[in-house]
């Protein structure tokens, strides 16, 4: 099989090379922009004014300011909290739980739940932001239809629990992905293994902990890698819903970077934030990849 494809490859080298041009161009484009961002992070390039025309090379000034000035470290913390609760605990945890619970459930229940979580996934982020605003604002559904009829005081959720609201909104938005991935993964686990564990007297929790989770380890690690990467850089829903506020309560790194680059106009500093984000996510990725490889040893 392999030999055949090699022969085919040899015979069609020219068309293959032509077909590869778009891919090569894309790769070059990515490398160019990544290189440009790294270069920019060492300059004081601005969006406007003198420094937009003649930027200076400032060595590590931007990186030093990341740790010596207010803003960046606070945003790292906010982003970490947001990612941990919304992606790792929320999307991944709830996705796995739903996949396990619904695996053998009746067709109708499964369809209803799948439709519900897929709806969140399919809704555009800005639409989702308006929905959650309508849901959680002081005149929103939670207050008007739940809290007030039950005799509770009106709570301004977006004022007082902003980070909690964006975390829940993102869980709602993104759980479908993890659910679908784990559902597919569960289908590959052979029934015999689970039944064997059952016969050996393992209860449900033990079957989950000692059989299912180890079998799904690679998929869990891969999923954690994905959701962490894109949640760490998540922007649109939070920006549209709270703009990073009130105050800086929901100012995650992507919003901080955007504000520094495009509101303040410091493209150099904004690039340094972007590179720092990339490094943080890179470290986490290495950790996850190691986790998924351990199992194969």
């Amino acid at each position: 099989m392999i030999t055949t494809s090699h022969v085919w490859l040899r015979r069609s080298a020219t068309p293959m090379a032509i077909a590869a041009i778009p891919a090569i161009l894309f790769i070059l484009l990515f490398v160019f922009y990544a290189g440009w961002t790294i270069w920019t992070s060492f300059t004081d390039l601005a969006l406007l004014g003198r420094k937009s025309v003649n930027p200076n090379f400032v060595w590590f000034d931007n990186y030093i300011r990341l740790v010596t000035r207010d803003g960046f470290l606070a945003s790292v913390w906010t982003t970490t909290v947001f990612t941990f609760f919304s992606a790792i605990v929320g999307q991944c945890g709830i996705g796995l739980l739903l996949a396990i619970l619904l695996k053998n459930s009746r067709f109708k229940l499964k369809s209803v739940v799948e439709f519900a979580i897929l709806f969140g996934w399919l809704a555009p982020d800005v639409v989702a932001a308006f929905m959650w605003n309508a849901f959680a604002s002081s005149d929103g559904m939670i207050n008007v239809m739940i809290l007030q009829p039950l005799g509770f005081e009106k709570v301004n959720l977006l004022n007082e629990y902003a980070i909690e609201v964006v975390i829940i909104a993102n869980i709602w938005k993104g759980t479908a992905w993890s659910y679908l991935l784990f559902s597919a993964a569960l289908d590959t686990v052979s029934k015999e293994v689970i039944e064997a564990a059952y016969m050996d007297g393992a209860n449900a929790l033990q079957r989950l902990r000692h059989v299912l989770l180890p079998l799904l380890r690679a998929q869990i690690a891969t999923n954690l890698l994905f959701v962490t990467i894109w949640t760490y850089a998540f922007f649109s829903l939070i920006y549209a819903l709270t703009g990073g506020g009130p105050g800086r309560e929901t100012e995650v790194l992507s919003i901080y970077m955007y504000k520094q680059a495009f509101d303040v106009g410091k493209l150099g500093y904004g690039s340094a934030v972007a590179i720092a984000m990339m490094l943080i996510v890179g470290v986490l990725s290495v950790f996850y990849v190691r986790q998924s490889k351990d199992q194969t040893k």
Partner: protein, 439 residues
């Protein structure tokens, strides 16, 4: 297969031709809501020149869009931009020099000198003003009546404003915003202009830039001053100490629309805002109200100084919008013809009056539609005593630092901490020798 390849090739050549054809058209980017001024002008222009106008209408945040378009080399031939950007855009080489055109344009003499100045950098005209604005405190009459506050309301100091808001809070528990005072970064320039600057200008005398963000004589930005501290403490009073304002409206997905609907729904008692709101509130709320009905619902009063000895009695600051030609345009003469069409005297006068915006040309002020508008004519005294922001290159960064400072106050930082960060930001951006401290 071969046929398919051929048709793909033909299609790509055809689309290439289309793109080339499109490049010869005149392009313009302008904000939504200006169609009444623009579309008839496009029709005139197309009839006169035979060229086509391709327009991009930006529904929101056009300021940022234009800036990024310029920076990315993708600006239209003609752009509509916030006039405070003139100095920075000009310094970046984004705006074409219009002096040669304006010197041969009869209408240019009709523009007010102060507005020509804002748009003229080092002797070169960079933009044509469209309209200007003034700022004030709007209030809801019914809420004030319930709170027992005398009308017309004429606060003399900041204490009077806070007192009125406290009365509202005590008597109208349903009003979440006894005062709406722009704060934070999501409202962007509105925080700086409608909130911070209005307070700052009334917090001290003008000597040595004491009530501004820049000392123009020394050529330095001001990193710390008693006026800056007083202004931040006003934010502290409103949002933390007296809790006279909710926070949600400053951060919702639609900050402008939600603020306007909240005012129309009686959720805001006092609102630091601009002259355009007399119309914009009702447009956003989707409610038709005659001028008389509006006057029964809302009224405005001048924004007082803080009451200290040197401070001016009232403060006011103006901005406005310009039409300009991008330096990158390779058909500037044609673009200028479009600009002239946009400023057709009769059409412009009627449109600006219909928008409820203070005009920037003498001939427009004389137009019957403008003269008949009692609201617009009532703004004239404010227009005579107004000032502009410190639009020296770098201003937009300074303004962003101001917005961050108000955020810090909301986050519970002390005035000392907030001012220290503000000053540090300025020093990072411009260098220590470019930043002045007023004790």
């Amino acid at each position: 297969m071969r046929n398919l390849l051929l048709s793909v090739l033909t299609a790509s050549v055809a689309s290439g031709a289309l793109i080339t054809a499109a490049a010869a058209d005149i392009t313009i980017t302008y904000p939504a809501g200006w169609e009444g001024l623009m579309e008839p002008a496009f029709a005139d222009f197309e009839k006169k020149t035979g060229e086509k106008v391709v327009s991009t209408v930006v529904p929101k945040e056009i300021d940022q869009r234009i800036t990024v378009d310029f920076a990315g080399g993708a600006a239209s031939d003609v752009v509509v931009y916030d006039s405070y950007r003139t100095a920075e855009y000009a310094e970046s080489g984004y705006l074409a020099d219009l002096s040669a055109y304006t010197s041969n344009w009869g209408a240019w003499d009709n523009y007010f000198g102060s507005l020509k100045e804002i748009s003229t950098i080092s002797g070169s005209v960079r933009g044509i003003p469209v309209y200007t604005d003034v700022r004030m405190l709007w209030y809801n009459r019914a809420i004030f009546e319930k709170a027992g506050i005398e009308q017309p309301w004429q606060p003399k100091t900041w204490t009077d404003i806070l007192d009125a808001a406290e009365k509202v809070k005590a008597t109208n528990p349903d009003v979440d915003y006894p005062i709406y005072f722009p704060v934070g970064t999501k409202l962007a320039e509105a925080t700086t202009m409608q909130g911070f600057y209005m307070a700052l200008l009334g917090a001290d005398g003008s000597e040595g830039g004491a009530n501004r963000l820049r000392d123009w004589n020394e050529g330095k930005w001001i990193g710390d001053s008693p006026a800056i501290r007083k202004t931040l403490s006003l934010y502290q009073e409103i949002f933390l100490n007296k809790e006279l304002s909710g926070r949600e409206l400053y951060y919702t997905p639609d900050v402008w629309g939600d603020m306007r609907r909240a005012f129309a729904n009686g959720e805001i008692a006092i609102m630091a805002n601009g002259s355009w709101e007399y119309n914009s509130i009702w447009r956003a709320a989707g409610i038709e109200k005659t001028p008389q009905e509006r006057d029964e619902f809302m009224a405005w009063t001048r924004f007082p100084g803080d009451g200290s000895a040197d401070a001016p009695q009232f403060s006011n600051i103006s901005g406005g919008w310009n039409v300009a030609i991008a330096e990158s345009s390779d058909q500037k003469d044609l673009a200028w013809q479009l600009v002239e069409s946009i400023f057709d005297a009769d059409r412009y006068a009627e449109w600006v009056a219909g928008q409820g915006r203070p005009a920037v040309r003498r001939d427009a002020l004389e137009a019957p539609a403008y003269k008949a508008d009692t609201y617009l004519t009532s703004l004239s005294p404010l227009l005579e005593e107004t000032t502009g922001r410190d639009t020296y290159p770098g201003y937009s960064s300074v303004s962003a630092f101001v917005q961050q400072a108000t955020t810090d106050i909301l986050d519970g930082k002390t005035i000392d901490e907030t001012v220290a960060t503000f000053r540090e930001n300025l020093e990072d951006e411009f260098g220590e020798d470019q930043v002045k401290i007023i004790e």
